[in-house]
């Protein structure tokens, strides 16, 4: 009744604070970034030309894509396993598992990255333990390389994969699997033909979430990569803060943004993203 008596004008009044906030703190800075990318140092698309000509940038993009791809694949697979377990244990165990997952989520990303450095470095616990039991003679190179970066990133991203997959799996009725088995399907067939396809929305949501987060991630790669693994976001930081090439930094930021949009556009051709992310 109240809703009907409001005309469109009054709706706008209600959402105006949110809109103003978004425009001032989000849309305006974003436009500024876009503006700088075509004006600094000179007006034009000079910065964007580098995307095609600069082989150093090519390498950075390749590294970024490779690490993000591997991280996403590992995270989603591991996340699925954890989420599957959570959806099938008793309520009490589920609560304990959820607590452990959220606990790592609440820890500072810096602390987690440095914890991994402690574990993975040449004199670290893992190398020491392996050498102590005689499994290896020389320490393995576990950090300051892509391996270390991927380990740290997967660890950080896991909750982002587990939560949407778990939410999806919770909604799959156990009666489907029971029906599949009652009709003659083995446990594996019931999983592959019924359960897995029904968990597709969760897998897609997790994949997108983790991949997009990975693209813009820089603390963990910077710390665990030890400067040897340079991803786009780390390079942007350097360009902003150290080499002061704002034109180049904003160009890369914009490219990253458009890249994500392009990716979502491609994905949305195959899946209903609104449904995947829970819109009705």
């Amino acid at each position: 009744m109240i809703g009907r008596s409001l005309n469109h004008g009054s709706y706008w009044v209600l959402i105006a604070p949110a809109v103003v906030l978004m425009v001032v703190f989000y849309v305006f800075p974003l436009l500024q970034v876009l503006w700088i990318s075509v004006t600094e140092p000179t007006f034009g698309f000079g910065n964007y030309e580098e995307l095609f000509t600069n082989s150093f940038l090519h390498r950075i993009w390749r590294t970024t894509a490779f690490i993000c791809g591997i991280t996403t694949a590992l995270t989603v697979v591991l996340g699925y396993v954890v989420a599957y377990a959570m959806a099938h244990v008793r309520e009490q165990q589920m609560t304990a598992m959820m607590f452990c997952i959220l606990l790592t989520f609440w820890l500072s990303v810096l602390i987690r990255a440095f914890a991994w450095v402690m574990l993975l470095r040449t004199e670290g616990m893992i190398n020491n333990a392996l050498m102590f039991i005689g499994a290896i003679d020389d320490p393995l190179r576990l950090s300051r390389n892509q391996f270390g970066v991927i380990v740290g990133m997967v660890h950080f991203m896991l909750p982002l994969a587990i939560l949407p997959i778990y939410a999806n799996l919770r909604g799959i009725s156990q009666s489907y699997v029971a029906a599949a088995r009652g009709l003659g399907g083995s446990g594996f067939q019931a999983f592959r033909m019924i359960y897995l396809p029904l968990s597709k929305p969760g897998i897609i949501a997790a994949t997108i979430l983790v991949f997009v987060f990975s693209l813009g991630f820089f603390i963990t790669p910077a710390i665990l990569g030890g400067g040897r693994v340079v991803m786009v976001s780390e390079y942007i930081r350097v360009a902003f803060e150290e080499t002061l090439l704002w034109g180049k930094a904003t160009m890369l930021s914009s490219t990253l943004l458009f890249g994500v949009f392009l990716l979502l556009a491609i994905v949305s051709r195959f899946v209903n993203l609104r449904r995947v992310f829970g819109a009705t």
Binding site: G182, L183, G184, I194, L198
Partner: protein, 391 residues
């Protein structure tokens, strides 16, 4: 086989979905959850090709028995035998039983045809190979025109038919049905009762049906097993159970019943007995075999077996009564009358030949034949049972 006779008008050869019917035996099945016995020593022989219904209120163990047969529940004790071979240890997928689940459990991401294809697909049949069988069974349930729809695009009754088709397409040894009609509205339920029975006659497959709805059980079954607290209370043909309930629980659960607590006075031969409530005497035929004169008995008296009249009828089993309440049901009147010394009784009278116009506090005579009363064992106290009409 007699059951396999094709009904006129059906294009389909029904034998294409009916494997030779199989017989199932349960021997002393017990299922305990901790201290609680959900099923407590159930033994049962289900003959080939029969339509057997497990009937009982919730918690009576009927679903646990069905799930044991299907292989989802492992009995704590006892054996399940299919044609004499023990199948306790076989997982569900190795049993080759068709199952219609409560709520159907149709796979939501598959079309109707894909759902029906599933049992054949997991048995290693490709689609072209099994297309014929899928289409035939969809024709059998009259859904061939909807084969490309998703389950969510079907009505409840159509979903039910898909579930049936999916459970039949691989010629199961048995068909297990877990409350398949409970989600449907009343009219559709009645229609599907006809269809299910018809399907059973066409196929000749052994059907094991679980329900809490006594009407469904009575209308479709060859045999009904009534369960209470994990045990078999009584089993038999629908008509026998209804006419000759052995216990107060059966008389009350299957249909509606009045109960009279009376003293048996005398048996005049096996044919006739007399019982009394207070000073009032009534006749009973035949005489109960298990109880003798002087004993207190519980007698079940169906509401529809009581006649009403304005003038005093010439029979021993008659009482003057006052109408306390009445409900009109179109086909019948349901009356609650008060008749000393029996107290309140429920009477069902066909509306179109009800001799009187019921009115509250209206007076009338009630009477019943000596054959109408049945002596029952009192497994549920007859004094605190809920009223048959729910009023």
């Amino acid at each position: 086989m007699e059951r396999n006779v094709i009904r006129s008008g059906s294009k389909l050869a029904p034998s294409s979905f009916s494997a030779a019917p199989h017989a199932l035996s349960l021997k002393g099945i017990v299922k305990r959850y901790g201290d609680l016995a959900a099923v407590d020593g159930v033994s049962l022989d289900i003959p080939r090709g029969s339509f057997l219904t497990l009937l009982g209120p919730s918690g009576s163990g009927k679903t646990t028995i069905l799930m044991s047969i299907a292989g989802f529940v492992r009995p704590t004790e006892g054996d399940i035998l299919l044609d004499g071979a023990r199948i306790n240890d076989l997982p569900p997928e190795k049993r080759n039983f068709g199952m219609v689940f409560q709520g159907y459990a149709l796979f939501p991401h598959m079309t109707v045809a894909e759902n029906v294809w599933f049992p054949l697909r997991v048995r290693g049949q490709s689609f072209p190979e099994s297309e014929r069988a899928v289409m035939d069974v969809l024709q059998l349930v009259q859904l061939d025109h909807l084969k490309d729809r998703l389950p969510s695009e079907l009505s409840g009754g159509q979903q039910q038919r898909v579930a049936l088709a999916r459970a039949l397409v691989f010629k199961p040894d048995l068909l297990l049905l877990d409350e398949p009609l409970s989600a449907l509205d009343k009219k559709l339920r009645a229609d599907l009762q006809w269809e299910l029975k018809d399907l059973h006659e066409k196929l000749g497959t052994t059907f094991i049906y679980v329900t809490h709805d006594q009407e469904e059980a009575l209308s479709m079954s060859d045999e009904i097993v009534i369960l209470r607290d994990g045990k078999i209370e009584q089993m038999g043909k629908p008509g026998d159970l209804y006419e000759k309930p052995a216990t107060s629980f059966v008389a009350d659960f299957l249909g509606k019943s009045n109960f009279i607590r009376a003293r048996l006075i005398a048996s005049t031969g096996p044919d006739q007995a007399t019982y009394a409530v207070g000073e009032q005497e009534f006749n009973l035929r035949p005489a109960p075999a298990t109880v003798g004169p002087g004993e207190t008995v519980a007698i079940a008296l169906r509401p529809e077996k009581i006649d009403i009249s304005v003038t005093e009828p010439e029979t021993t089993n008659r009482l003057k009564a006052t109408i306390r309440q009445f409900n009109y049901h179109g086909t019948s009147f349901h009356l609650r009358v008060s008749a000393a010394p029996l107290g309140d009784l429920f009477v069902t009278v066909q509306a179109w030949r009800c001799g009187i116009t019921p009115s509250i506090n209206g007076e009338l005579w009630i009477s019943w034949e000596p054959e109408a009363g049945v002596v029952v064992r009192e497994t549920v106290a007859i004094d605190d049972r809920p009223s048959p009409d729910g009023v």
